[in-house]
């Protein structure tokens, strides 16, 4: 029971510390804003606006998520070892494995919160994109400006409200703004449900492309794997080398199909490396949505098992390494 409480306390603190760093708010707010603006700024793409908005949103989700995951993971391991907070915590009745696992739980919470925000933003962004509209009033290409501006306003509204709360109640600005952004994006999503694409009041119907959900879930899994990898490396290396190693791992995983997959049948070494390096192609399936296609939830479940195996392996290595780290 004590251990569960300690996990919750340490994970909560890790999440809170991550959220109180301005970089986390900046990355999440920028991701939502760019996702909102993408469909409003592109024009004349010959009917591909929806695809472009969807792909852009998912790409923002992946790229900004990588930075959120990498930064949070490095901050809670490498930086804490360096500045001594880890030593202070480990002088209390806290085991090293429990400490390391709790840190990952905290980082995972932040990554999943970011992913939820980015997913809703992508769903709305795809709705905003110009599409052919037919109705009793005629037909034409329509952009859902109302939904777009509502989504774009969410980061600013969250920041303004957090500023007011900071002034009135002295609550920390960064974490308050992040939490308000987590409320503002779903609020924008919900409000848009009461309007049709022409901006007229209508019965509740979100009018979004739900096929995006499994694609976004896959990206969230990839981010968790990246966070686990970053945490494992951060037990031994400082922040910048850790991010470099993880970026290398990411690039290796992106090209492993091309360079290793084709040689795997002939070369045991290539097969070993192909199996060893996480294959990020398993998590990036935007193209499967093109032309009305969909990603089966059974595939998402399989990918989930793959991601869980990767996370377990990285955390196991990290915990093993962390058990022998000296707190100088």
């Amino acid at each position: 029971m004590l251990r569960i409480r300690q996990v919750l306390v340490l994970a909560g603190l890790t999440a809170l510390e991550a959220l109180r760093q301005p970089i986390c708010l900046l990355l999440t707010g920028t991701c939502v804003l760019l996702t909102a603006l993408a469909p409003m700024l592109v024009m004349h793409v010959f009917g591909e606006e929806g695809k472009l908005a969807r792909d852009s949103g998912l790409a923002f989700h992946f790229v900004f998520g990588m930075f959120v995951a990498g930064h949070a993971a490095c901050a809670c391991v490498a930086r804490e070892i360096r500045c001594g907070t880890t030593a202070t915590v480990l002088s209390k009745p806290v085991g090293r494995t429990l400490f390391f696992a709790s840190k990952f739980a905290g980082v995972a919470a932040v990554v999943l919160a970011f992913s939820a925000c980015a997913t809703l933003a992508t769903l709305l962004s795809e709705r905003v994109a110009e599409k052919l509209h037919t109705g009793p009033e005629g037909w034409g290409y329509v952009t859902d400006w109302r939904a777009g501006w509502l989504l774009a306003a969410a980061p600013f509204a969250a920041a303004a409200a957090a500023g007011a709360i900071n002034w009135a109640l002295r609550r920390p600005f960064e974490s308050t703004a992040f939490l308000l952004l987590l409320c503002a994006v779903p609020a924008a999503f919900f409000i848009c449900g009461f309007f049709d694409r022409l901006g007229r009041p209508a019965p509740l119907d979100f009018r979004v492309d739900w096929r995006i959900l499994p694609a976004a879930a896959l990206i969230a899994m990839a981010l968790l794997v990246l966070a686990a990898a970053a945490m494992a490396v951060a037990t031994r290396l400082p922040t910048v080398p850790t991010l470099t190693v993880v970026a290398g791992l990411f690039l290796a995983g992106l090209v492993s199909d091309h360079f290793l997959g084709r040689r795997a049948a002939a070369s045991p070494a290539a097969l070993f490396l192909y199996r060893l390096i996480p294959n990020w192609q398993n998590f990036w399936l935007c193209d499967a949505l093109t032309g009305g296609g969909a990603i089966a939830w059974s595939y998402v479940a399989q990918a989930g098992l793959y991601a869980a195996a990767c996370v377990t392996a990285f955390l196991g290595l990290g915990a093993l390494s962390f058990a022998h780290v000296e707190m100088k």
Binding site: R5, E17, A87, R170, E326, K328
Partner: protein
């Protein structure tokens, strides 16, 4: 200093170190520094034990090995009869690191609450202890400011407060008075004495000799990781071939007569002087007067005495 009976008791040692050696290695695992070299020492229950030595003499390394934060290269270390990394043992220890490593985005109240939760303290005593500790270290007025904004001295005080949240039986203090003003130093020394009166054991490292002399029962002096001197403070410092007599001011004739007698007895003239107040006490008097006339401080406020649960005024509130 704590009562001699506590120090000389036959109870098992709180800390036992036998032949402790610590070698730091480089990236290629080659020996780089021998920080501790064959250290033997014992800390008994209820004593205030000082580790002295110049920078790099192995004080902090020894303390970190005691806490399981560093791993010994050789020798044996037992704390409460258990290995240092034993989780249950750590419930009985409070540790103030050399640099007060705190979560910069947390407020002092959140910091103490966090550490209290790690010991599974129930909510009510946790809040009560946090409040008492904040008042004790003079930071009750800054309880809602992020500790990242604090000066070194203020961080040090929060560091001390977190070390005491569990009412530990063994308190390990690494350079406890570093970065503190004379008032803070005095408070820490008073706190150590109060804890020792309750039978707590304190191990501290310092190179501020006056602080150690004021509070420690026994000391070891380390140099290059080896013990160069050890023993009771009084035993080590006492000059057995000299005698000092302090009396209220006496008339000149009486003084001349006494000097004559002493010269006759010892064969040399004694030194006679008016004792002076030490600078620490004079400083504390001046600041005390300033506190009485000042408004709300921006840094460290006026500290209450030792927290009630630490000096035993709240019985039955153990962790």
């Amino acid at each position: 200093m704590s009562a001699p009976s506590a120090v000389e008791s036959a109870a098992p040692a709180v800390v036992e170190i036998r032949g402790l050696t610590k070698i730091f290695r480089d990236f290629w695992r080659r020996p780089k520094v021998r920080a501790v070299d064959g250290l033997d020492l014992e800390v008994r229950p209820g004593e205030i034990f000082g580790l002295l030595g110049p920078n790099g003499s192995g004080k902090t390394t020894t303390l970190k090995i005691l806490l399981g934060l560093l791993f010994p290269s050789g020798g044996e270390v037992r704390v409460f009869g258990r290995p240092p990394h034993d989780i249950a043992t750590k419930r009985r220890i409070g540790y103030l690191p050399e640099e007060s490593a705190l979560y910069g985005y947390l407020t002092p109240r959140e910091t103490l609450d966090f550490y209290g939760r790690l010991f599974a303290l129930p909510a009510a005593p946790r809040r009560e202890r946090a409040g008492q500790l904040l008042r004790m270290v003079g930071l009750a007025h800054a309880a809602e400011r992020p500790v990242g904004e604090f000066s070194k001295g203020m961080s040090r005080r929060i560091g001390l407060a977190q070390a005491l949240i569990n009412d530990p039986e063994l308190v390990v203090l690494d350079e406890p008075t570093a970065g503190l003003d004379p008032i803070g130093c005095r408070q820490i020394k008073d706190l150590m004495l109060a804890l020792a009166r309750r039978g707590k054991t304190i191990v501290l490292s310092s190179h501020l000799l006056a602080d150690v002399e004021d509070v420690c029962d026994r000391i070891v002096i380390l140099y290059n990781g080896r013990i160069r001197a050890q023993g009771g403070v009084t035993d080590l410092l006492e000059k057995k071939d000299l005698t000092r007599i302090t009396v209220p001011a006496v008339p000149a004739e009486t003084l001349r007569a006494v000097i004559g007698m002493l010269r006759e007895s010892t064969g040399r003239a004694p030194e006679v002087e008016h004792p002076t107040m030490d600078l620490e006490h004079f400083f504390l008097q001046v600041v005390e007067e300033a506190h009485r006339s000042s408004q709300a401080p921006s840094g460290v406020g006026r500290a209450d005495g030792t927290a009630r649960y630490l000096d035993g005024r709240e019985a039955g509130r153990g962790n």
